[in-house]
Amino acid sequence: MGYVRAVDDINFFIKEGETLGLVGESGCGKTTASRCVLRALVPTSGQMLFRTASGDVVDLAKLNRDQLKPLRSQMQMIFQDPYASLNPRMTLFDIVGEPLLIGGMRHRREREERVAELLRLVGLRPEFMQRFPHAFSGGQRQRIGIARALALNPRLVVADEPVSALDVSVQAQTLNLLLDLQKRLHLTYLFVSHNLSVVRHICDRVTVMYVGKIVETATSDELFVRPRHPYTTALLAALPVADPRVKSSNVELPGEVASPANPPSGCYFHPRCEYCIDRCKTEAPVYRELTPGHFAACHRADELDLKGMA
């Protein structure tokens, strides 16, 4: 039938201790990319270089299962849906303790102590470990998921839309917790989200994806104030501002998000881009560094003066 290039030749890095946001709409490939990083999916080609705790650099894409196993404890995931990501038939002790058991912690007493410590770390009472997930709210379940992810002292945490399914008043608590844990445990976050406000709040640098490709990467400040790709500008303009006196931009991005199964020719964004010229229709733009640390894939990046948030 054919291939869908969910992720199509992307190139990014994450510095130790930072939070990189991976942003984009449906079909952009952010979830696929994040799953690849953890080797939950196997990339068809390319490298994923990871500096291990001992300082060695390994290519995760090339390792077999046995080689990967000892490294898995160093990279963990927090999932989006706090209802689907916890087994309803396991107690909190079972859930948060499972990685410990797999990691070789055989003595129950030892696991109980560690689980208690982890629950406290995320703001839950250790007594809760005998209970089942259904006794807890969405926000609390998300904390359980976070505790589980931290069980083996990971260095890299991939957070896949960790607050999207939570109520507004709970999102703030969860974001604060993530920020706090990062400082305390020296964590590196890959933060996948479609919500730009949340990304702005928590990320140091941001990568924007569209239909499998990276269109722009920059520090959070730069991306939001001085974007260099028309799609980024459109994303920023589309965000509804929580202030009735600030009416959203009247510029509307026409058309629909392109399908990764059948992407347009040349630059994938060209059919919706108000700056499109002939070259954009036939030639895919090169993803290059415009100013130090600021990358974009746009033929006209040097000449366009795009609008960001004030």
């Binding site: 008043s169 929580a242 629909e256």
Partner: protein
């Protein structure tokens, strides 16, 4: 086994006028969806409307002065309510994928809706459906009418849903989280579309959402709900720039926005939303309220009373217990 009664909605009063957008905003368990279902008389049993009225004013027919009907009094399965549901009051549901039948074309479903409410034949109904598709900006409408919902992208599906809702020229459009399931650029399109259509047709929109950004952009008047009660009502400008209720204020402060200082802790509301079954006595928000007054807020339930020119609030900071008793 009878565990007790949950008051999903405990007292709400709205006046909805043509050409205006009424936002109902709140989090899980606040009762916004149940309010919408009550209006359409589709509350699932054993839930039911216990008290109150829902007066719908319709354009008078044949020289009568006015036609006012109380929806709460109608038989939900009766012909009159069925005429109103989809006719005078139409729903744009949250999940268009779930709302469309996957085994019928979208055209088939819209035509069915049209013919249920209007006295037209198949061909005329199809013409109307085509025009609705054009009005909502669906490209190649002739072709799309004969497609299935799963062949359409999320944005197009939502537009098709809106087309169906509008096909019988409703007086009131109830939009239940219409953009929660779509991308942000599609959301921007859908919101602008709704506004434009509303202006053209002078319909009223009741817009239900948890997203404060969307409310700020769409609503003229806002009702803030929490655990089944109305906490505050006012114009959208009042709610955002002069909120009265501690819940509203705390909610506004806790949302990250492009403009708040990044990477510092957000002000939060302590605790979490209790299950509606465990609604606290007195004011439902008191366990999480920084202005809680022991002896008052945990013993008596505040009533929604005026505060300021056009605002109303349920809070003992503004009204004494005696007034509300």
């Amino acid at each position: 086994m009878d565990e007790g009664v949950v008051k999903a909605v405990d007292g709400i009063s709205l006046d909805v006028y043509p050409g205006q957008v009424f936002g109902i905003v709140g989090e899980s368990g606040c009762g916004k969806s149940v309010t919408m279902k009550a209006l359409l008389r589709i509350v699932e049993p054993p839930g039911r409307i216990v008290a109150g009225e829902m007066l719908l004013r319709r354009p008078p027919k044949n020289g009568e002065t006015t036609d006012i009907v109380d929806l709460a009094r109608l038989n939900p399965r009766g012909q009159e309510m069925r005429d109103i549901r989809g006719g005078e009051i139409a729903l744009i549901p949250q999940e268009p994928m779930a709302a469309f039948s996957p085994v019928h074309t979208v055209g088939n479903q819209i035509i069915e809706a049209i013919r249920l409410h209007r006295d037209v034949n198949q061909r005329e109904a199809r013409k109307i459906a085509l025009q609705q598709f054009r009005d909502v900006g669906i490209p190649a409408p002739e072709q799309r009418l004969d497609e299935y919902s799963w062949q359409l992208s999320g944005g197009l599906r939502q537009r098709a849903m809106i087309a169906m809702a509008l096909s019988c020229n409703p007086l009131i459009l109830v939009a239940d989280e219409p953009t929660t399931a779509v991308d942000v650029t599609t959301q921007a399109q859908v919101l602008r579309l709704l506004r434009r259509l509303q202006e053209e047709r002078n319909s009223a929109i009741i817009f239900i959402t948890h997203d404060l950004g969307v409310i700020a952009q769409m609503a003229d008047f806002v009702t803030v709900m929490y655990l089944g009660l109305v906490m505050e009502q006012g114009s959208v400008d009042d709610i955002f720039h002069n909120p009265n209720h501690p819940y509203t204020k705390a909610l506004l402060e806790s949302i990250p926005s492009i403009h708040t200082t990044p990477r510092v802790d957000l002000p939060t509301i302590s605790g979490s939303i209790p299950h509606p079954f465990n609604r606290p006595a007195g004011c439902p928000f008191y366990p999480r309220c920084t202005k809680f007054m022991p002896g008052k807020c945990d013993q008596h339930t505040p009533a929604l009373l005026p505060a300021g020119e056009n605002q109303k609030v349920s809070c003992f900071l503004y009204h004494d217990v005696e007034v509300t008793a």
